[in-house]
Amino acid sequence: MFAHIFKMMWQRKRANSLIIIEIVVAFIVLLAVVAFIRVSYQTYSAPLGFEYDNTWSIAFEPDIEDRAKIGATAKQTLQVLSQLPEIEDAHTMYFPPFIEASSSTTIDSENGKLYVLMTSVSDGAQQAMGMTLLAGRWLNESDNGQTIRSVVINKMLKDNIFGEENAVNQLFDYDGDEKLRVVGVFEDFRQMGEFSPVGNYMMFRTDLDNPKSFYRSINIWVKPGTSRAFEEKLQKILHQSAPNWQFEVTTWQQLRDEHISNGMVARMIPTVIALFLMLMVAFGLLGVLWQNVTRRTQELGLRRAMGATATMVQMQIIFELLVITLMAIAIGFLIAIQIPISGVIEQLTWGVFFQSVGISTVIIMLLSVACAYYPSLIATRYLPADALHYE
């Protein structure tokens, strides 16, 4: 029987090749959608590396006239804030988390050029954010006045530059001739939030005593239960410290909510387009397969007249379509595997690729079985006498 089915399929190679092309397209589109969702989920669910509860960000816009005094004014403001009973801790940070802004650089390594995000924070900020130190120490006053600047780097950057070696006290090239000394390695700090890819990161120290230090935000850790009503009091104190400066107070939770909402919208558009495309492909596939089975109604009637049961005929149709689908998936797989092989999409790891292939294969197979099952069920519901005269 199998030889008979394969013979029929070979003889119908032209018609079958059209179905195969349709399924290859459907498979590749589905694979892309599944991989995109899988990568997005993996990125979203990766640890942020810091905590954002009870943390408020104060972005400030200094008075143009006061530019030379930014460091001193901000330091004074920080000291005033630290003494408020509602505030547990206060630190500067170049940019707060969850906003689409960050400083970046590229670093040469044995693994090629590395894209690295970076920031600068005052002493103790990492502890306040609940970041995890894996090796060495956080930046502190002992880093003042060193000829080689100290940095702490995340694990990914450490792995990319130093591999398995201990990175603490090692130097690496930065920005042309400068070298940086690694004093600590931390787990991660995904400054741009859950939707940002997991990447290389390093942190410099902001020396509050250095008038040249520059930063864009003060971040405060308020006592649990502190309400937004505190913001009013905060604004008054801030304006007393720097009367001509503009301050904008936002909670990190608020920044995160906005980040997630913007991220969702940005992803919703391609997802809706992809789903629409999938739907079109699925309908196309359904139409092609439906027509393929329907035009064989006479043949199905003949087979039943020759002694086949309706179930035998239906199983044959489903088997044929599954073989065609598997062939199409194999072709689609060979095309799609070029992407992880070439490494064009960094986030598309082999694990994600094979998971996506598995999910897409199951969905396409189920779709094919459904597309073969229903029309073949209808075709075999005809009495053989009617099926033989079906036009």
Binding site: L302, G307, A308
Partner: protein, 221 residues
């Protein structure tokens, strides 16, 4: 061999009910060569489909090879169609994507026999209709007469006791029609096959042992 008792078949649409067979009782003996004649729409093909278990009567009893058809359940009647009945259709109903040999093998696919045995029986049937040289050809490479001979080979490959031929010469010219009749005569005389043939052609009908005439769904003789 074939017995119909008070067979009735009608078709119903939304507005109208058409009676195709009305209280038909009929007995065809083993080894008999019978033709069914009548004007178009008199119920010849319906009668043929009911005898061949391709259609279900609304009322009445059918006996095939003295076995009463109790149920029209697919699983019960598929083996009877496969083993006891061979079909020859006016429009041949060959599968164009299969070679002559593969078309002839078709009924045997639904039996538990080896591929080797299937091939042997198919070649034997092809030999009977003198198409050995065309075994590897495809239906669209054959003439109408040759295609009908393939259909006959397919009908007899499983050595059925009954052969049902629905206007087997209807699509053929006279010479080819005679060739087909000669093969049917041969199967009847030498293999003692019971043959029921629907025809419009009086001359062809005269070559059979008995003519059953139908008019408006009823037997008239």
């Amino acid at each position: 061999m074939i017995r119909i008792e008070r067979g009735k078949k009608s078709y119903r649409t939304d507005t109208i009910q058409t009676t195709a067979l009305n209280d038909v009782s009929l007995h065809i003996k083993k080894g008999e060569f019978v033709s069914i004649m009548g004007p178009s729409g008199c119920g010849k093909s319906t009668l043929m489909n009911i005898i061949g278990l391709l259609d279900k009567p609304c009322e009445g009893q059918i006996y095939i090879d003295d076995q009463k058809i109790e149920s029209y359940n697919d699983k019960s009647i598929a083996p009877i169609r496969n083993e006891k009945i061979g079909f020859i259709f006016q429009s041949f109903h060959l599968i164009n994507d299969l070679s002559v040999l593969d078309n002839v093998e078709l009924p045997l696919l639904y039996r538990k026999i080896s591929a080797k045995e299937r091939r042997r029986l198919a070649l034997e049937a092809i030999d009977k209709v003198s198409l050995n040289a065309r075994a590897k050809h495809f239906p669209n490479q054959l003439s109408g007469g040759q295609q009908q001979r393939v259909a006959i080979a397919r009908a007899i490959v499983g050595k059925p006791k009954i052969l049902l031929a629905d206007e087997p010469t209807g699509n053929l010219d006279s010479a080819m029609g005679n060739e087909i009749m000669a093969i049917l005569d041969d199967l009847h005389k030498n293999d003692k096959t019971t043959i029921v043939m629907v025809t419009h052609d009086d001359e062809k009908a005269q070559r059979t042992e008995r003519i059953i005439r139908l008019f408006d769904g009823q037997l008239v003789n």
